[in-house]
């Protein structure tokens, strides 16, 4: 099937249009622009200052899916960056070196501010130091402490609120020339919570058999608006309502997963997946699953920009700054490994999955360091087999299709074997 023949739902088309509109806004030259990160982003706060939200990780993903990231990464390596480091960073730096062109074909403007609001990833801190070298623009940071004991502490929350009050908000006021209005923030947070309700409803529909959705490959699309420049907007509410209707329609018709190449057919395997997807061979990767009848019923990646289902977090307009703090602290990779184990084990049980598949990403230690232990712990808690594949985020040199396919096939055989034997299977690693 050619690229043009990809089947897209109404919600996907709407999302495509939303993202395109955001890029047009960023490149219009008519608004102030902030670069910031997905996990722990402060979209509602940026909107209070009419600042557009540009996300370097998303740009790297866009370039990877368009097969452009490989050359950008090599460009960064030619300029002195190590082969060993995060490929999102190198794709971003390489993109700058190659003219800094946005997906709409227009040049990205230099950001007016680098908002270093980050969670769960130390590399983000260095990334913005590197971007600041290039752009020489103001950088304001929101440091989010790591939830190393599984729960945010009062000291963590207070620290974030204080940084918002004394660092982030005054800087954004200065850059935008707009005075902060907390009621405006409350209104955006109210809208966030509304969309978040529908997001959680969507995530939970994959408890059904067959699952009407894929919560990893499909989940990437579903989470797009809420994790990026649209949380807090009417558009996000509309998007998630539309998505809900679409999924309800599929449920009513008894349909399973829709893939880029049509209906998946029989649902043979139900998996929970840990780790980000590979973006350079995204469709090829997905195809390995749907051709085998494997559906991902839950994934940790759909929590990377915020966890809403595990402990029922919603943005709270009555406690706006505290709510932003709790949101940041609760992002998936900002939680300690025991909590991540608990989340995944619960997912396997509640979604009646056959096991845990880990896509271990070479350039993302935030996810990857510790995944082998995590897999063994989840196996112990659930009795379900785990498996491991290795790829990269946006570096095409680290996607070996044959290797991944072999491992997946072995894993599916292991699940079959376990079903027949009713016993526990050994770990593929």
């Amino acid at each position: 099937m050619s690229q043009q023949d990809v089947i897209k739902s109404r919600s996907m088309l709407l999302q495509k249009e939303m993202i395109a509109r955001n890029y047009d806004k960023i490149t219009s030259g008519e608004v102030k622009v902030s670069s910031t990160f997905v996990p722990g982003n402060l979209n509602e706060l940026l909107m209070c200052f009419d600042i557009a939200n540009n996300l370097p990780e998303i740009n790297a993903i866009q370039n990877a899916m368009r097969k452009k990231s490989g050359e950008m990464i090599m460009e960064a390596e030619r300029s002195g960056h190590s082969e060993d480091v995060c490929t999102y960073v190198k794709a971003d730096i390489g993109m700058m070196a190659k003219g800094n062109i946005a997906p709409n074909g227009k040049p990205f403007p230099d950001p007016d501010v680098l908002l270093l609001s980050y969670t769960g990833c130390f590399t983000f801190l260095k990334w913005f130091e590197l971007l600041r070298e290039q752009y020489k623009c103001p950088t304001v940071m929101l440091q989010v402490p790591y939830s190393a004991d599984g729960q945010p502490t009062k000291n963590h929350r207070d620290y974030i609120v204080k940084q918002l009050k004394e660092e982030v908000i005054p800087t954004l006021e200065k850059i935008s020339g707009i005075k902060f209005d907390i009621d405006r923030l409350r209104e955006y947070l109210r809208k966030s919570a509304k969309a978040e309700d529908d997001l959680v409803w969507m995530l939970e529909q994959s408890k059904r058999k067959p699952s009407p959705i894929d919560c990893y490959f499909g989940g990437v699309y579903y989470m797009g608006p809420i994790f990026t420049a649209f949380r807090g907007t009417d558009e996000a509410i509309t998007y998630y309502q539309m998505l809900r209707e679409e999924i309800q329609e599929r449920i009513d018709k008894g349909l399973g997963v829709q893939t880029p190449e049509g209906e998946m057919g029989e649902e043979k395997y139900r998996l929970v997946v840990e780790g980000p997807p590979n973006w350079t061979s995204f469709r090829e990767f997905w195809k390995m699953f749907h051709e085998a009848g494997a559906v991902v019923v839950a994934s940790s990646y759909t929590k990377v920009g915020g966890v809403y289902d595990y402990d029922n977090f919603r943005h709270d307009p009555d406690h706006p700054l505290e709510s932003l703090a709790d949101y940041c602290l609760g992002v998936y990779t900002n939680r300690n490994l025991p909590t991540r184990v608990d989340m995944l084990a619960r997912n396997i049980k509640e979604y009646e999955a056959d096991g845990l598949l880990i896509n271990s990403i070479k350039s993302c230690n935030s996810f990857s360091a510790g995944q082998l232990v995590l897999m063994r712990e989840v196996e112990k808690l659930t009795g379900k087999p785990g498996a491991f594949v290795e790829t990269d985020l946006v570096d095409p040199r680290y996607f070996s299709a044959a290797n991944v396919k072999n491992r997946l096939e072995s894993y599916f055989q292991m699940i079959d074997q376990k079903r027949r034997a009713g016993g526990s299977a050994t770990t593929l690693a």
């Binding site: 960056h81 960073v89 130390f122 070298e133 440091q143 004394e166 935030s366 990857s368 232990v373």
Partner: protein, 391 residues
């Protein structure tokens, strides 16, 4: 230990370095009932608070070149640095069984997740991921950090079953102030007369400080300086280099030896940064927690583990080190897969280029075995400095 000669002191330190059973720390623990040992990973933890709790802070810097990692490789993928896998190896083979708690400093995502692995594998142990502020204002990052220090203090009080008094804290601050002063004296001495204090000796001396109580380590440094001064050692025609990037996973000893043998005197380095993190004495009057907090905020070394507030500030610490130590060039030596060091490197390189300071870059792992390419690289670097330097 009381020793007169450099050889005796260095042999003693080498013995500690090679002893992966941490016998010295075990002996310290066994000497009195109820004593506790708190391990910490590289970079920075406030050892003063552990010391004030009557506990031994034990620096754990991986397994080194000689540890055969068997189990540890089943914990980490091939593209993750070596220090977590050798540290896990040490732990699950029982070499850290006497350690009552572990602290994991905030340096990178690998170290952060290692704290979680400890929580999963060693459920009966005290585990603390030690977060530090990246905001350096007293009323913002300072308040957060002082509270974190208080939480650490409370945790250790609970573990030790006794209060950590202000008096004990002040005393520990004094002990570490003195220790740091002597660390700096050793570094100053090496910089002034690098032929008299070879880097491999200085390194072993500092490594001993990871295992010994600070009072003993201080005495050892005093003895070493006195002994080194008595030695008659020839000055070689080496160039002077500052080494940077090695603040976490440590290079094999042979790498340090190879650099000097190839013609580079290391006149500054960032090995075992914990001993040199605070740049000034911590005041001993007033609230010791507040004092430790302010020392971290306002008087600590710039490394890749910290956020630099300004473009202008980036690299200034390295440039100042080069100036102060009269270094002819810089060797960037980073462990493979070390995100903080490797991401920092291009920014630091650009500062050196602006000042026309020569540099080379290399990567290592704690068990790197092939030193010939490194000797060739650093030898060529040393030759080029000697041949082409205007000095």
């Amino acid at each position: 230990m009381s020793a007169d000669s450099v050889k005796e002191i260095v042999d003693f330190c080498q013995g500690i370095f090679e002893d992966l059973d941490f016998t010295k720390a075990r002996e310290w623990k066994d000497a009195e009932p109820g004593r506790k040992v708190i391990g910490y990973m590289p970079v920075y933890v406030p050892r003063e608070i552990i010391h004030a709790a009557g506990m031994l802070p034990l620096g754990i810097l991986g397994g080194g070149a000689d540890l055969e990692v068997i189990h540890g490789d089943a914990f980490y993928q091939s593209y993750i640095c070596r220090i977590p896998r050798s540290t896990v190896e040490l732990a699950i083979t029982g070499k850290l069984d006497f350690v009552d708690g572990m602290m994991f400093p905030s340096i990178c995502d690998v170290m952060r997740n290692l704290s979680g692995i400890w929580q999963l594998l060693f459920k009966d142990k005290y585990v603390r991921y030690f977060d530090v502020p990246q905001n350096f204002k007293d009323e913002v990052g300072g308040v957060f950090y002082a509270n974190e220090l208080r939480e650490l203090k409370e945790g250790l009080e609970k573990l030790g079953g006794r209060e950590i008094t202000e008096e004990a804290l002040r005393h520990s601050v004094e002990v570490y102030n003195e220790n740091r002063q002597w660390v700096n004296k050793v570094y100053d001495y090496r910089s002034a007369t690098p032929w008299k204090a070879p880097s491999v000796e200085v390194y072993l001396l500092m490594r001993a400080g990871m295992v010994l109580p600070p009072e003993e380590h201080t005495q050892l440094m005093k003895d070493y300086l006195a002994a080194a001064d008595r030695e008659d050692r020839p000055m070689r025609d080496n160039c002077r280099i500052a080494l940077t990037g090695a603040f976490c996973e440590q290079p094999p000893l042979n790498l340090i030896k190879s650099l000097e043998l190839s013609g580079c005197y290391i006149v500054d380095d960032d090995f075992m940064l914990v001993t040199r993190w605070l740049l000034e004495d911590v005041p001993t009057d007033g609230d010791p927690i507040e004092n430790l907090s302010k020392a971290f905020l306002h008087h600590s070394a710039e490394t890749a583990a910290k956020f630099e507030d300004t473009v202008e500030g980036k690299g200034s610490y390295l440039l100042e080190t080069i100036r102060k130590r009269r270094a002819d060039g810089v060797i960037f030596a980073a462990p493979s897969f070390c995100d903080p060091a490797l991401l920092d490197q291009p920014m630091l390189v650009s500062r050196l280029e602006a000042h026309k300071i020569p540099y080379i870059t290399m990567q290592y792992a704690e068990n790197s075995g092939q030193m010939q390419p490194i000797r060739e690289q650093s030898g060529t670097f040393a030759d080029s400095i000697k041949l082409w330097s205007v000095a």
